[in-house]
């Protein structure tokens, strides 16, 4: 029983990183109609920047995370303006290919800064554990869950009540009508990229917490893909649920599959999110929360 509860907690912790990434994907998709494959590279770049801010520039961990998120948000804004905006009106797959190119380029630059080894991000948690009766809960997972909850609540409030958040929702629904209300749709695109890059940075820090960021870290970013398909491409709550589900399934498979179903192989936990995704798609072709008719730009 306690093993089960522990897997759930660590799954939710890991899953909150996927959720941050998935929410970024969905924000960009909803406002621009493009799936940005640059998210994994931005995640690694953000975590790397935080690492440098802590160890080369002597910032405290929370300050480094805040600065890292802001800087990467600026980078996202710039990327959209320079690389994506000129493609507005062209087929969306052209833009998607461009984001793949961006991913490769950002990763190449980031890898230089990471170097060959694991680079810690300066988090205060390490592998410390909290003993709660029979449970051993890792500090970092608790911190991730709490941080993700706060960030998501803030995002929800922003989209629900603020003038700019409302403009973003309107633009996601109908660009031309939004233009007719005086909304600058270009600014909405740029802001979507900024939010997504900021969230990716946070996800990168989560993923690297405990161990560190390496040249292989960006692969974790790809796990947001089954998460968004699972939740429904155009649904923010779907992205959160999808991200958490992927984290939990992964953790449960890691815990139980080697004992109960060893014939599935040694790395089945890597495949499990995709299996879950396919199962959900069989029942709900548009994901758990997606809308059947997905609007095109």
């Amino acid at each position: 029983m306690s093993t089960f509860a522990q897997s759930i907690i660590s799954g939710l912790g890991q899953g909150s990183a996927y959720a941050m990434l998935a929410v970024g994907f969905v924000i960009i998709f909803k406002s621009t109609g493009v799936i940005s494959f640059a998210q994994p590279a931005l995640m690694a770049a953000g975590a790397t920047l935080v690492s440098y801010l802590v160890f080369q520039f002597g910032l405290g961990f929370p300050a480094a995370v805040a600065v890292g998120v802001l800087v990467l948000a600026g980078v996202g804004l710039g990327l959209e303006r320079v690389a994506l905006r000129p493609l507005v009106g062209r087929p969306v797959f052209v833009a998607a290919i461009v984001t793949l190119g961006l991913d490769t380029a950002i990763r190449a630059v980031t890898n230089r800064f990471i170097g060959p080894d694991l680079r810690p991000v300066g988090d205060p948690w390490g592998y410390d554990r909290l003993e709660l009766g029979p449970l051993f809960l890792q500090h970092r997972y608790l911190a991730m869950i709490v941080t993700a909850a706060i960030v998501l609540a803030a995002l929800f409030t922003f989209f629900r009540y603020s003038r700019v958040g409302l403009a973003m929702r309107a633009t996601a629904f109908d660009q031309e009508t939004s233009l007719a209300q005086g909304i600058s749709v270009g600014a909405v695109f740029a802001l979507s990229w900024a939010l997504a890059a900021g969230l990716a940075t946070l996800a990168g820090v989560f993923v690297a917490a405990g161990s560190g960021v390496s040249q292989g870290t960006w692969v974790v970013g790809l796990k947001a893909l089954p998460a968004i398909v699972l939740g429904g491409l155009d649904s923010l709550p779907g992205a959160v649920v999808g991200g958490l589900a992927v984290g939990v399934v992964e953790a449960l498979v890691q815990t139980y599959q080697p004992v109960h179903a060893p014939w599935l192989g040694g790395n089945f936990s890597l495949v499990a999110p995709y299996v879950l995704m396919l199962l959900v798609l069989l029942v709900r072709p548009y994901g758990l929360f997606g809308t059947p008719e997905i609007r095109r730009v």
Partner: protein, 270 residues
Amino acid sequence: MREPGVSGAVLAVNNLEVVYNDVMLAVSGASVEVPEGRIVALLGSNGAGKTTLLRAVSGLLDVHRGAITKGTVTLDGAEIQRLAPARVVRRGIKQVMEGRRVFAELTVEENLRVGAHVSPRGIDQGLVRVYELFPPLADRRRATAGYLSGGEQQMLAMGRALMSDPRYLLLDEPSLGLAPRLVEQVRDLIVAINQQGTTVLLVEQNASMALSIASHGYVMENGKVVMDKPTEELMADEDIREFYLGSAGEEGSGSFRDVKHYKRRKRWLS
């Protein structure tokens, strides 16, 4: 809200030519003037170029791969045809697009708030004005806009445009698809909005409705303005009565009188 009929201020389309996709000529040499304080009607059959002319004014041609190849749009003499849509809105020109286009997933009040995007300080005042003009919207302010009836959606689209208190309202076929009773209601609302000081350029296929409230009318055909007259003269014109009011002869004079009657009633009310 401002005084109607202020001196000489005018929104003008001058010798406009618009091309879609670099080849398809949709408007050629059209000129239209909308003096401040008035209701001006723009009539014409399907594909005449009415919507295209409105898009040229509000800066929405880009979205449709259209471009102005000749002519200008001026507001009080200053050229505005190169401005981005957001700038045009800030100058006080707001278009209500054909087909209402409410944000169906947002609530009624959220739709209205989006309408005040360029003037967030005026939200409270705007909401009061819109709910006063359109009481059914006040009752349903928390309802999802997609579930409103067609008439309510038209009110919402017009209310949303009014939220930034525009000087000029460009209405594209507001009566489209509405039952006769609702058409009448929309007509009364346009008059009310105009009396509060907003100038209206009214695009309609329902000519009798439009001419019953406009002071001046234009008729477009194949991208050109083919007629440009005060409403009284338009309504007396045989061609107009035959083709647009659909009412030559006995029956026609009946509906013609109805229109006149409405105008008189309107004057008593004001």
